[in-house]
């Protein structure tokens, strides 16, 4: 790569000698701020999250209150602008409330798995052969099960409910995060700059937090963000099977299941919960792409 900056010094806009020292994370922030697509995606995601949080104000009707009089109204019905479901409940209100559970079921297991799996992966990557073997072989056992089956099996054993959905998804997501983190850590650990840091008499925790983590966290976060979409879809799948959220609570997967019978009567309304799932998980995937390119500071922003 012929980099012009290697031939002649580029005069940076702020060359005042007292310029504030910048850190890696502030550079990543600057780069994100210039990434229009990621900003737009972030705005959409923020809307979804805000709607979920402020559901009582955003909803136009009681999400649980239906009426046989107004079953399966089409989109654009006065008072019910996204139509009604098979028991006459307002789709918009149910989507808004359903976002709460769907987001919780998508984000919480990934966050927990990142915390647990990231720590385990870091320990396995830095630790010696025995520690690595112990952690990675246990992880391999979990890998032997297909992820969807594992989630179903766990939920089937411990019972339906939000807490159990979160728990089972966390178990499903932890092994891949351990593996990603472990391989990233093992790569970084053997680089010369870590050896140089050891040679500088720095304590181990400083080497981990300053040298290893910044080079591992990027890949880890990018991977975790991409799991959120899968989390929402998997939890929707569990609800669909009756293992996740129980009716009549609104949740996108459950709504999709309930509206399944209406697919020939009112296909567009029946597809709406699916649209919500697609938009949200697409946003998380695009966000992870944006994060990836912002953290790879070798790429021009």
């Amino acid at each position: 790569m012929a980099d012009v900056s290697t031939l002649q010094p580029i005069i940076l806009p702020d060359t005042s000698a007292g310029a504030e020292p910048r850190s890696y994370w502030s550079t990543v922030g600057e780069r994100l701020a210039h990434d229009r697509i990621t900003l737009a995606v972030g705005a959409v995601l923020l809307c979804v999250i805000l709607l979920a949080i402020f559901a009582p104000w955003a909803a136009t009707h009681d999400p649980l209150q239906g009426s046989v009089m107004r079953r399966l109204k089409p989109i654009g019905t006065p008072g019910f602008f996204l139509g009604t479901d098979e028991t006459g409940r307002d789709i918009w209100s149910r989507l808004v409330y359903g976002g709460r559970l769907s987001l919780i079921c998508g984000v919480t297991p990934v966050a927990l798995a990142t915390l647990i799996g990231g720590t385990l992966g870091l320990v396995a990557g830095i630790g010696g052969r025995v520690v690595n073997m112990a952690i990675m072989r246990v992880v391999d056992v979990f890998y032997a099960f297909p992820s969807v089956l594992l989630a179903i099996a766990i939920c089937g054993v411990i019972g339906a409910g939000i807490g159990n959905t979160i728990l089972s998804l966390m178990v499903v997501f932890t092994p891949p995060i351990v593996r990603v983190t472990e391989s990233l850590t093992a790569q970084v650990k053997n680089r010369d700059f870590v050896e140089a840091a050891r040679a500088s008499a720095a304590p181990l925790h400083a080497i981990i937090s300053h040298q290893i983590l910044p080079n591992v966290l990027g890949g880890m976060l990018v991977y975790a963000t991409s799991l959120v979409g899968i989390g929402i879809i998997l939890s929707a799948g569990l609800s669909f099977l009756g293992l996740g959220v129980t009716p009549p609570n609104p949740e996108w997967g459950l709504m999709l299941n309930a509206l399944r019978q209406a697919i020939f009567v009112n296909p567009i309304v029946a597809a709406l919960p699916g649209v919500a799932i697609v938009i949200t998980s697409l946003c998380f995937n695009l966000l992870s792409d944006g994060l990836r390119s912002a953290m790879d500071i070798k790429l021009p922003s």
């Binding site: 010094p9 940076l12 060359t15 300053h210």
Partner: protein, 351 residues
């Protein structure tokens, strides 16, 4: 800004800054999972030398001869199997001596690969300030100010470089950063592990000049590891020649280059490119690769490639013997009565 070197000088001027005694490191060889063999790679096998204060000691040898392993053993980045490291009269890890941490604060290393030895996700200022901030608990602001001073010292303008990232710099600039980082802890000994080998010749010359200036200004001592004999000849006061994990010859740079006494050193010097048309590079005495360090030859390790090898060479490993004023050679031909037919007749050097 820098502490004058004498204030740390505990052992006095006559005390060598670094004494290495019988340093050993054998790595377990990678066999297949089921193999029961306990083979070891004898990377460093009984290396002893000393470095006087203010000197530059060059370490030369083919790749794989244990030069870099020795450097890492000195800093205890790899734990030695056996042997002593004595820094300014104080044994490292010995009772009453200094710990590895204290040693590292006084002995720093510059790595060969200028890119891989800098954290790609840290700014130049952060990289230089890391050591003082974490190992010496210098406040961040002070450490960054000092990083600016160090950048100036290695010839880079702080306002242009402090906020940049390693990938935005050239190889020579990165190696200057590596030197600044090593100097940040105010060490007394700098290990330069092939520090200029990956650079262009013109940049290499600049870095060598910088190193010479720093040595003069800061009173540093260098251990200069390189495979480039011309560079070693240029910078060193003393030279240590290694072959397959052992020292075969050591002495003043003049003695080694004018009167190389070990057949290996002679072969190395013959292979050296020369600018003088009357002294063309001769066909090297060396053929083939060094033998496998997993099962090194018995006796003298060089005998498989030596033109003068005899029966005694396979039987007895030659000891490092002083032949004249600090010039040490490990060869039976140098020792009268060793059993070698040429023993005692100094073999012909370059002149």
């Amino acid at each position: 800004m820098n502490v004058p070197p004498s204030s740390d000088d505990r052992g006095g001027a006559a005390q060598p800054l670094l004494i290495v005694r019988d340093l050993k490191k054998h790595f377990p060889a990678k066999g297949s999972f089921w193999s029961l063999s306990r083979d070891t790679v004898q990377a460093v096998d009984g290396v002893s030398f000393s470095v006087a204060k203010g000197q530059t000691v060059g370490v030369v040898g083919e790749s794989g001869c244990g030069k870099s392993t020795t450097a890492r053993l000195l800093l205890h980045l790899i734990e030695p199997d056996a042997g002593e490291v004595i820094f300014d009269g104080e044994g490292v890890g010995a009772p009453g001596g200094i710990g590895v941490r204290e040693l590292r604060l006084q002995m720093q290393m510059v790595f060969q690969d200028s890119y891989s030895s800098l954290n790609p996700r840290a700014t130049i200022a952060d990289i230089i300030a890391f050591g003082p901030r974490t190992a010496k608990k210098v406040p961040s602001k002070q450490a960054h100010d000092r990083a600016g001073g160090l950048l100036e010292q290695v010839g880079l303008q702080p306002s242009l470089f402090a906020r940049r990232y390693p990938h935005e710099l050239s190889g020579g600039q990165r190696q200057r950063i590596n030197i600044a980082r090593a100097l940040a802890l105010e060490p007394r000994l700098l290990i330069l592990d092939e520090a200029v080998s990956a650079l262009d010749k013109s940049v290499e010359a600049q870095i060598l000049n910088l190193l010479a200036d720093l040595r003069r200004d800061l009173g540093l001592t260098y251990l200069f590891i390189s495979h480039d004999l011309n560079v070693v000849r240029h910078v060193s006061d003393r030279v240590v020649v290694m072959y397959l994990g052992r020292i075969v010859e050591a002495g003043d740079v003049g003695g080694i280059f004018r009167r190389p006494s070990h057949p290996y050193t002679q072969a190395l010097l013959r292979a050296m490119p020369s600018m003088d048309p009357d002294r063309r590079t001769e066909a090297s005495l060396l053929t083939g690769d060094p033998p496998n360090p997993i099962n090194p030859p018995s006796g003298c390790r060089f005998r498989t490639r030596c033109a003068f090898a005899e029966e005694v060479c396979a039987r007895v490993p030659p000891a490092l013997q002083d032949i004249a004023g600090g010039h040490q050679v490990a060869c039976h031909m140098m020792v009268p009565g060793s059993g070698h037919s040429r023993a005692g007749t100094i073999c012909a050097g370059h002149d």
